[in-house]
Amino acid sequence: MDIAAGVSGSLAAIGYGLAAIGPGIGVGLIFASYIQSTARQPESSRMTLPFVWIGFAVVEALALFGIAFGFIWATGS
């Protein structure tokens, strides 16, 4: 069977692009919520900041797994 269309080049790069969508949205939501809550109640900004960073780190981890696995499986079939 002939292959009508194919992709050449680095599929890992495309995969990482797809993997970054979710964490991108997630990180955006976290900081949007933080800015909103600080605008509504400025005195709460110090209290919520550690949670912002924890949430940011947890969400961002997925994008970073994408980077690491992109290299690990770059040569895989």
């Binding site: 550690p50 924890i54 780190a57 947890v58 970073l64 797994f65 980077i67 690491a68």
Partner: protein
């Protein structure tokens, strides 16, 4: 480094690879295949020595009105103790865990810092071994803290069985186990590693990309300059990432300890 830069101009290995992280041995008397002492090892030793010497000197003669060095040491430790330890773990426990948290933060900051220091230019944390071991220490620590407080049985029950209706427990218990005991140390290690790895990779792409474009066609020189300006901008971004990741690692460790010793979910 200068030798490397000269080699770059003659033949640019453009897409940087994982192999660029495996540095050659720098022992003058050893063969190149004896990889026990590379730049990475040297940088870890230097950063450990810097931390030790700085804090020993700063606290040799503590004064009521601190001098410059003592002030820096006190504010570094005070930041971790007050803003991370006490804030997340409570007054008593926060002070008890502050030495570990401060050591962790400083060790990560000093090691990350090598990624943008000229000549060094690579962080030891861009090798998975160092973040993995730090994550292992934190993993053992928060489990130990929980087991010491509740005993093994009650600690497991606290961390594995959330207050939920009985019929969702068959799904929840494996998920809780997976997230608490498997994903936590793994993500802690990979987060720091991947940040440092990706940072080094980005700097390599833009630096080498400039050389590669210049080599492909001299008319592309303006874009090479743009690429090198990007490198400078990304170096500043790295500076942010260095402190952010050290802070995040420490805060997550503190939050895991807090989760392990919390009375109720």
């Amino acid at each position: 480094m200068i030798g490397q830069a000269v080699a770059l101009q003659s033949d640019v290995p453009f897409p940087p690879e994982v192999g660029d992280f495996y540095l050659p041995s720098i022992v003058p008397w050893g063969g190149l295949d004896s990889l026990w002492f590379t730049k990475i090892t040297a940088l870890v030793w230097v950063s450990t020595a810097l931390i030790l010497v700085f804090f020993l000197l700063a606290y040799r003669k503590p004064k009521m009105v601190p001098g410059k060095a003592q002030w820096m040491a006190e504010s570094a430790y005070g930041f971790v103790r007050n803003n991370i330890g006490v804030e997340m773990l409570g007054a008593e426990r926060g002070v008890r865990f502050a030495p570990y948290l401060a050591t962790l933060l400083l060790f990560i900051v000093f090691n990350n810092m090598w990624s943008i220091v000229p000549i060094a230019q690579i962080s030891p944390n861009s090798h998975i071994a160092f973040p993995a071991f730090l994550a292992l220490i934190s993993y053992v620590l928060f489990n130990y803290a929980g087991i010491k407080k509740f005993g093994f049985r009650k600690y497991m029950r606290n961390s594995l069985i959330p207050p939920a209706p009985w019929f969702v427990l068959p799904i929840l218990i494996p998920i809780e186990f997976f997230s608490t005991f498997l994903v936590r140390p793994f993500s802690l290690a990979v987060r720091l590693f991947a940040n440092m790895f990706a940072g080094h990779m980005l700097l390599l792409v833009f630096t080498l990309g400039g050389f590669a474009m210049l080599q492909a066609n001299p008319a592309l020189a303006p874009f090479s300059v743009l690429s090198w300006l990007m490198t400078i901008a990304l170096t500043l971004l790295e500076l942010l990432v260095i402190f952010l990741q050290a802070y995040v690692f420490t805060v997550l460790t503190a939050s895991y300890i807090q989760g392990a010793v919390a009375e109720e979910h």
